[in-house]
Amino acid sequence: MQQTYKILVVDDETDLEPLILQRMRRDIRAGRYEFVFAHNGVEALERLNEDEGIDMVLSDINMPQMDGLTLLSQIPDVNPDIRSVIISAYGDMKNIRTAMNRGAFDFVTKPLDFSDLRVTIERTLQRVMEWREALSTRDQLVALQNELDVASAMQQSILPSGFPDGPTFQSFGHMVPARNVGGDFFDILQLDRGRVGLTIADVSDKGVPAALFMMSSRTLMKGAAIGTESPAEVLREVNALLFDDNDASMFVTVLYAVYDPATGELTYSSGGHDAPLIVRADGSSTLLPLTGGVVLGIVPDFPFEQRTVTIAPGDTVVLYTDGVTEAMNSNRDEFGIARLQQVFATAPPRDSQEANRTVFEAVSSFAGDTPQSDDVTCVTLQRREPAS
């Protein structure tokens, strides 16, 4: 449907109104233009105040009460996005200059040449439309950026600030968010009987709804981890709770593991998340088998399973998100778990923080200048020899 543009004509001479209505009748009938009239600057400002739908102003210069030049300087206070065209006497360069300096978009001269006036109106309206489009694009970008900022702040706010350690283990976690926010989070919890709960997760979407989903996931994980001993049972509970209120088909991949320093046993369960890597003191490493789970939040009830492995002193458990394995270089090669294993083979980690740093350095040196497209997150836990 064609848009109707509303044009405010300001002139104290009453013969202009019927003349415009007559000469522009075809455009008016076609619904292209609608004219409203005012007879001096004061009246014009009133019209503009009353009617936000006015797209442009066509104004004479010499008028009683408030002239066109004064009107020009006041229009921006009422509506800064309006464009004005001035009607001046032929050859009156002084007033034309003043009008242009005060922000007039263009001018036409008396006696009015209506085909020229039509061209001038069209040109002005086009500029008004372009300007509005630019404003709306800018607003959208600002809104989008605000949303991403909110989501990013939420994501940062749920990361733990301290990492549990003990005489026979230390833990560490780190995340580097992608510029436009992925959905990673992690948590390292001190549980009862000295046990430690390790969570690493990746939410499937970005933006505020995904960040809210992330916050629920993290809170539910924490609650379940504290109340429930078995990792598989924790995932089963959290999955059922997330499913209950999830119309948006969002989901989260979670790897949840419990480490017991008393036995050196690591029990883990995967909710559609990448398998843990165990790096030994000599730098060799093994990818643990998956536990046959699914991502959390989309199946009403799922029997998650778990596995237990015993890790030796000097071994480091490495949990990571796909931001690590799927980091790309300029050839669009993926970093992959094998490259990470190679890096550890040449640089066995001395502690959990170093293991963590090794992962980030390896990813970043592989990616080079290629921008990071997803969050990169890594959680590490090393079993240590007890101090003698």
Binding site: T253, D322, E326, S373
Partner: protein, 112 residues
């Protein structure tokens, strides 16, 4: 994003290619939905030429599966290779979405 479709008997086969990640997931969704709308037959998404899918892409597959389920139309994916197969296995999507090794198997399965 290019989605080619072809009819195999009563079944609509949509062929995906290249990569689906966060940057084009929405476009991927619109393309697939456009390709399978205006029909009421079963759908097979052939992924033989898809080289990468991220979790954002998986979410699109899930939404398509759900909307087809709502229309009582059968849906399967087939011919997953390399990283895409791996992502399906790790995420457990192969347990949620009907997955077949070949297009023929998928077409036969959704017709039933």
């Amino acid at each position: 994003m290019e989605i080619t479709t072809e009819r195999k008997g009563d079944v609509l086969v949509a062929l995906t290619e290249d990569r689906v990640d966060g940057s084009n997931a929405r476009e991927f969704q619109e393309s697939v939905q456009a390709a399978i709308a205006d029909e009421d037959c079963p759908v097979v998404l052939d992924m033989e030429r898809l080289v990468y899918i991220s979790s954002a892409g998986l979410r699109v597959i899930l939404m398509i599966a759900r909307s087809l389920q709502g229309e009582k139309r059968n849906f399967a994916v087939c011919s997953l290779v390399g990283p895409v197969r791996e992502v399906f296995e790790i995420s457990g999507f192969d347990k949620i979405i009907q997955t077949h090794d070949t297009q023929e198997q998928a077409v036969t399965a959704v017709q039933g």
